[in-house]
Assembly symmetry: C2
Homo-oligomer: 305 residues x 2
DNA sequence: GATCAATTATCATTATTATGATACAAAGGT
DNA sequence: ACCTTTGTATCATAATAATGATAATTGATC
């Protein structure tokens, strides 16, 4: 009645083998069976898919079109077969992790080659990630937002502060004097005159910082727009300029003196970061290993002090 | 015995519907049939794929993994169904064309939206294109090379000359004087001192031009390496500098005075361009239409004059 | 041009798969 | 607590598909 997917598989084998007999051997079915499948498919489509020359079957135009259409997805489907027999053996697992690009670059990137399993990193927005986690598309997410699905689990593991930083050569004395006097309006005006770095996609941090500390909308544009936050760190290190970034991204750089932490703001902006997982997962070991790396890189911050 | 693709299709329907009954309705088969398929798949894989809670089937971990693996290719395969009933109706055809990037940009790009059928352009090397044409992956190729497959057809339709051009402001008098005296060695030395443009991928034209006209290997590097030949034309237009390019790419620009054709060389370098098609094709009309555009854009050159 | 080798088509038989009818189970409403 | 609704599992039977044996076809070879 309808289209049978087995017909397509047989069709592909015939196309690639050039004969019914060959296809039959490849598929471990009988030659009449192959013939039958092909007839069914041709009857269903209403077109002859091969020209029967005695020694081999030559695909017709329409046969070629169909082959090119089904070849790739069919191959992928057939490879699903491995997927079943896999994880019982000592094959490498593949786990999918969602997080923001900067987090990946700062934490996981350098370790990725050392892990004894395959990893797929996906970037995207957090609600989408939570949804994908629930559906099994992702196995682990790093997120500042929690979801409410009952079969998901969100464990806090670190905090990030959104702070004002500057390049190592930047003269921050005037600002610090103003802040000491609690002259926030003066600080705001002084800061507006400085060199600012931001990312193309995300000026949220800066906007939020400005709003919360100066109670005003951000009314100037950053001087340098760079591709991502790691670029900001590289640009600022040992140079002059300001930016608003999550603290962990430049912890090392500040330690080394290339950058300076200037101000945490009047009221501190702090996000809790969670590991999101499904409660039931077949990749518990792999996930722990990843989590361990995150715990080390984004060390249990003693911010609360 | 083996994995039956119909099981996967049924599995997908169960996953999406959440019940066997729903899946059965979606697939227009009986509910016991769906049950049977699922049992077979579970027996084959060796894992339970759904937890049977009374009102609905909840996918297990492994069920999720499998679903995410098969969802996309299965969807694509099922959409092949349309493909059969299509071209009899008034659906838009899709034809695939292979050519080099520059040719596409110069000729077809501006017309592509006006065509009443879908187009896929593929770039690549010519032997590969010829192979893909034979296999039905491409329906038309624009190539300076012919193949020898018996079911392919190569019709010449235009010629391209590889010529020396310069920006409109470039002072070419010294060169023209030297060429008039047939002082090729002098011309070569003069040219080496000029500003040169070339593409990243392809310095073949320049090398070949140099070799044929000065009988020497190219022993200097172009000053500007740009992404493609159209960039060369844009860079040179109304400016100074030299390049070696196929003539048709800058015919308009030369007409308008933005560039000048400086020298065609001692012995003219000319490639014949062919339309390559399969002798049997279901897209004869569409192909003619494309060919007409090419014939107009790369007008039957009266080079021979 | 007769024979050989290789392949496809046909067909009666066998094996597999799908179906309808129905029993069974669980949740929701009254 | 009972009934209704919704859904799954089971089973004998009907429908379908696969198989082996074999005939028919074609190109190649001598």
């Amino acid at each position: 009645m309808g289209l049978n997917l087995e017909w397509l598989r047989t069709f592909k084998a015939i196309y690639e083998q050039g004969t019914l007999t060959g296809a039959a051997q490849e598929l471990f079915i009988s030659q009449p069976g192959v013939s039958l499948h092909l007839n069914s498919l041709e009857a269903y489509t209403g077109y002859k898919l091969f020209d029967r020359s005695a020694k081999k079957l030559v695909p017709t135009e329409r046969g070629k079109v169909i082959y090119n259409f089904i070849e790739e997805p069919l191959g992928k489907l057939e490879s699903a077969e491995q997927l079943f027999h896999k994880s019982t053996k000592t094959e490498r697992a593949t786990i999918s992790i969602g997080m923001c690009f900067e987090t990946f670059q700062y934490t996981l990137e350098k370790y990725i080659a050392t892990l004894p399993f395959n990893i797929i990193i996906k970037f995207g927005d957090y609600p989408q990630m939570i949804h994908d986690l629930d559906k099994g598309l992702l196995d682990l997410i790093i997120t500042p937002q929690k979801g409410d699905q009952t079969n998901l689990e969100f464990k806090p593991f670190s905090k990030e502060r959104i702070v004002l930083v500057a390049g190592g050569k930047t003269d921050t004395q005037p600002l610090k004097a103003l802040l000491k006097k609690k002259d926030y309006s003066g600080a705001e005006n002084w800061l507006k005159e400085q060199l600012w770095y931001s990312t193309a996609a995300d000026t949220e941090h800066l906007k939020r910082f400005w709003q919360l500390n100066f109670r005003r909308h951000l009314d100037f544009k950053p001087n340098y727009i760079v591709p991502n936050m790691s670029s900001i760190v590289r640009c600022l290190s040992g140079e002059t300029g300001f930016s608003v970034v999550p603290d962990f991204l430049c912890a090392e750089e500040i330690e080394a003196g290339g950058m300076q932490l200037v101000w945490e703001g009047q009221s501190i902006i702090e996000n809790t970061l969670y590991f999101g997982t499904r409660k039931k997962t077949m990749y518990a070991d792999e996930i722990s290993r990843i989590q361990e790396i995150f715990r080390q890189m984004m060390h249990p911050l003693t911010h609360g002090s």
